[in-house]
Amino acid sequence: MKSAPFSYHAPASIAEALVLKAAHSGNSAILAGGQSLMPLMRFRIANPANLIDINRIDELSYIRRVNGTLTIGALTRHADVLASTAAQVAAPLLVEAVGHVGHAQIRHRGTIAGSAAHADPSAEIPAALMALGAQMQCSSRSGTRSVPAEDFFMGPFSTAIADNEILTEVRIPEWPEGTGSAWLELTRIYHGFPVVGVGALIHISDGTIDRASVGMCGMAGTPIVSEAATAALVGNAPSTELIEDTTSTAIDGLQPPADVHGSTAYRLRAGRAYIKRTLTAAIRNAGGVV
């Protein structure tokens, strides 16, 4: 199937792109890597009258470490993140999650910001950004606002990006040195979409967990971060009992939507197994013995 017709715009600067987005507010889509948008357009699920292609905006492609924050531009591709020493040092959880995204050809074109803006509740990147406590920089002609990841993902394929805005940058606060992280996911086929995915960050100080975060995909209508898991972990020494208790706390109250890849009950069981495994791996990577 072929896309419906559209007007094509290829701005050369962020400023030009923002003018176009404002002019075609409500009737346009941003084309970054196109690995999610193009299939939607081919199925005619997405039929934007105006397609604003940001691939000619070189100033949107970067990975930088600024004052303890990793900043990633809207055109930075998954493959760029995988190859980046800065990203590996500043946010190893993100790099590990990116390694699970699609396959090589997808990672060559697809972008971090594009995956965030697409907001698939079963995708890796939104859940990793939730776990990492990322800030999403939404820009319009009148300026840029910073939206925390937990306010950004509003529903399945729905974000806080306003009609006249473009997600121009993702900011990831660096965790302290010695932080252990892990991303694990259950897929139906090799490198397929996760049925359930879990990302965890753990920092241990003097034998006690003093910082922790657990993000998940496939467990709700949006990516989620478990405040209950953080509360259960912080202040305690790592142990298998703590992992068991935290896993139960994190699963409690979740009602993952059923689809062809897994019923609600299946996702709850898979989620339980994957939270446990991911916590164990992250604690070990943080130097904890479990």
Binding site: Y8, A10, Q35, M38, R42, L51, D53, H103, Q105
Partner: protein, 157 residues
Amino acid sequence: MSTQKVEVTVNGTSYHAEVDPRLALVDFLRDELGLTGTHTGCEQGVCGSCTVLVDGTSVLSCLMLAVQADGTEISTVEGLSRGEQMHSLQEAFWEKQGLQCGYCTPGMLMRAKEILATNPIPTAAEVREGIAGNLCRCTGYQFIVESILDAADRANA
């Protein structure tokens, strides 16, 4: 819906065209340039049969617009052989039976070309990981992996 100018170099030959912006790169290659070696499979980024190299990097040509290829150099399966002389990958696929129906083969070959360009002596596991985005419904992949490893041996002999 005005047309857009596209200037591309495909397998060393430059082309100038006016295209509808919604035209996918794979359809441009096949229908406008007559380069039907690149196959259209799923048209949604799942099967990898439309894989071509854009400025040396493998991409799915069904998920890229022709207009986005403006100014790039593209390599397709037609560019592999030198006249009657097959590329070492093609010879290896031929001898090791790396294809049956042949539908996935153009995409497999182009992805394999990139794998060997970035990692000239890959392990079998690296080849399997490398072709994870290219579906084959005939071979069960074993002969394809052996073909790519054989091509690596030929190139390094």
